[in-house]
Homo-oligomer: 359 residues x 2
């Protein structure tokens, strides 16, 4: 049986370490795993099951004999090195936003659009964390009732901004709780966006900015939810407007989603459809205070959906609350799951035509 | 000049102590202040400016010679004792939900519907914290462009559940940060709702339940936003559906609001209208990362509004983000402000007809 030499790029990061962890619990037959990162992290060790892998410096030549490369080291790293991986014969699953809107790159949530993998040209993009869990919650509804419109407000965890952001948040919280520092006086170097000019404390705060702003006054994070939904659901007519907010949660994104279906939906049927959908878990019993909670999602691969109810005025309007581990289904697990699906469809092999220029 | 004997009921609570604080910075002429609370708190002292007030036990006879009584000790306390206050000749400003939907009780945000005070019968209700700040953000838009619809997702602070809830949250956070306790293993006795059966940790969590659930699967907190908006804006046709969520913030509610106007609005004009509206502060300059933040709202009387932008698809759809100190504008300050407005309109005097039965 075929088995694969796998590379993980960004192996020391919050997502990279979880990719290695997910690869120890996968149906993907693995021959070897190579841990790659920037020069700064080279020589460190990372865990792959019981093994300690020594991290190697990522170079243009890192992908010799690699069949599958999982990237999660930032958009600029993927932009530069993913084409070299493809050129060397590997298939790339990229967790950054760099290639997501490229028409030659499938953008895949395996439960929703696995067929999109069939036309890959060596690079497959894993969607944004906030988009993926919303797709899991909405696809079972869309398939039966159609989907016209989404308004989503997110409650995103700090972990999405990486290990350093989580460390900084912990330090900020300790300063307030143990030393009585006023939250407005805390120092901050990372959130809301490492690449932006100003930084604000997240301790006891809610920051309505994730990633930088675009020209239309939405953030890139918000526009990712708009563009990626249309691409994954293969329907440009679905209206999506998002408000993306960071809250003082370490891991586990929550989302308040309003949607309008084409046909008026029966709420009990919607619950049944979600309960039956792979990757979705229905947690909706308000009489017993059962609804999804961020802290309960940590370490799990599923997306949890609850608080499903009719809009009070609009017949085809539905509100729901969905929660998932943003580092697993939102990143590492969805990437490994894409790899599993590629394997199931026998799609892990060198491409015949190079669509991405290695330079 | 007329000056008033004021009673504060629930004087030791998170809102009550702030009512006393707001009464030290008021245009209301005050002759005396009496601090009332349950027997449990009697004998404690509370601050009123430089004075230490000794807390007295609330009884049916507590309101002799009182002109104005501010209640914030829970709905059942208001239900029982507010009628005795009115009978004794006082005017009551009640911060609980008990009388809010009573047609004989004005429900007032002074910047929005001060005229409703003119027909009071001794009890005026202060709206729910989450409603008040939304009214400040939306009234300037409604007045010019009309308002058809609101979809709101809240990011509510723990302080709304009182001092004990804040203490518990701090302890939970310390257990995780200092002792490494897993958030799912924390004990919880108060949130999401002290009156409900199950309690969940708020540390590193987002709880999509505030107050208990109603028969339609919305919570009372959510239905308060629906009913109170219609009453304050005096328009039953405004559609309001809310999702109310508690997050690990101590003080300062944030809200992601989507609204549809009657007439298509110009966004620059909307910003101008909000900037000019009393009680509202426009904080909207995304090029410089300026938007409202919970930690910056603490201790301030205003409601801060930003992230104002058009919906991406619906011409009359607008999204915005509003933040306010839930214990001040959301409770203590709005109550004292109602009292100031009653005074300005010469409405603080005994009622001629008793509409509320003291029993």
């Amino acid at each position: 049986m075929k088995s694969y030499n796998v590379a993980v790029v960004g192996a020391t990061g919050a997502v990279g370490t979880r990719m290695l962890e997910q690869l120890t619990h996968t149906t993907l037959p693995i021959a070897s795993v190579k841990a790659l990162a920037s020069k700064r992290s080279a020589g460190k060790t990372v865990k792959f099951g019981d093994q300690d892998l020594i991290v190697e410096t990522l170079t243009e030549d890192s992908f010799e004999n690699i069949d599958l490369a999982l990237f999660s080291a930032g958009g600029s790293v993927s932009a530069k090195y993913a084409p070299f991986a493809v050129k060397a014969g590997a298939v790339v699953v990229d967790n950054t936003s760099h290639f997501r809107q490229n028409p030659d790159v499938p953008l895949v949530v395996p439960e929703v659009n696995p067929h999109a993998l069939d036309s890959h040209h060596g690079i497959i993009a894993c969607p944004n964390c906030s988009t993926i869990q919303m797709m899991i919650a909405l696809e079972p509804i869309r398939k039966v009732y159609g989907l016209k419109r989404i308004i989503v407000s997110t409650y995103q965890a700090i972990g999405g901004a990486g290990n350093r952001a989580m460390d900084e948040a912990r330090e900020q919280l300790k300063s307030v709780l143990n030393d009585g520092v006023d939250p407005t006086q805390l120092s901050a170097d990372i959130l809301p966006s490492a690449g932006d000019k100003k930084h604000y404390p997240i301790a006891f705060n809610a920051l309505p900015q994730i990633d930088v702003f675009t020209d239309n006054d939405y953030t890139y994070e918000e526009m990712k939810m708009t563009h990626e939904t249309k691409k994954i659901m293969e329907d440009d007519t679905i209206a999506v407007s998002a408000t993306c907010v960071r809250i003082p949660v370490l891991i586990g994104h929550s989302e308040s989603v309003y949607l309008e279906t084409e046909k008026v939906a029966d709420i009990d049927d919607v619950k049944r459809l979600i309960a039956q959908f792979p990757g979705a878990v229905l947690e909706d019993d308000v009489a017993h205070q059962i609804y999804p909670q961020a802290i309960e999602s940590v370490g799990k691969r599923e997306t949890f959906v609850g608080r499903i109810r009719k809009d009070l005025d609009v017949a085809n309007g539905i509100h729901l609350w969905c929660v998932s581990d943003n580092l697993l289904k939102g990143a590492a697990w969805n990437s490994v799951q894409i790899a599993e699906t590629l394997h199931e469809r026998d799609l892990i092999h060198p491409v015949s035509e190079l669509k991405f220029e290695a330079k």
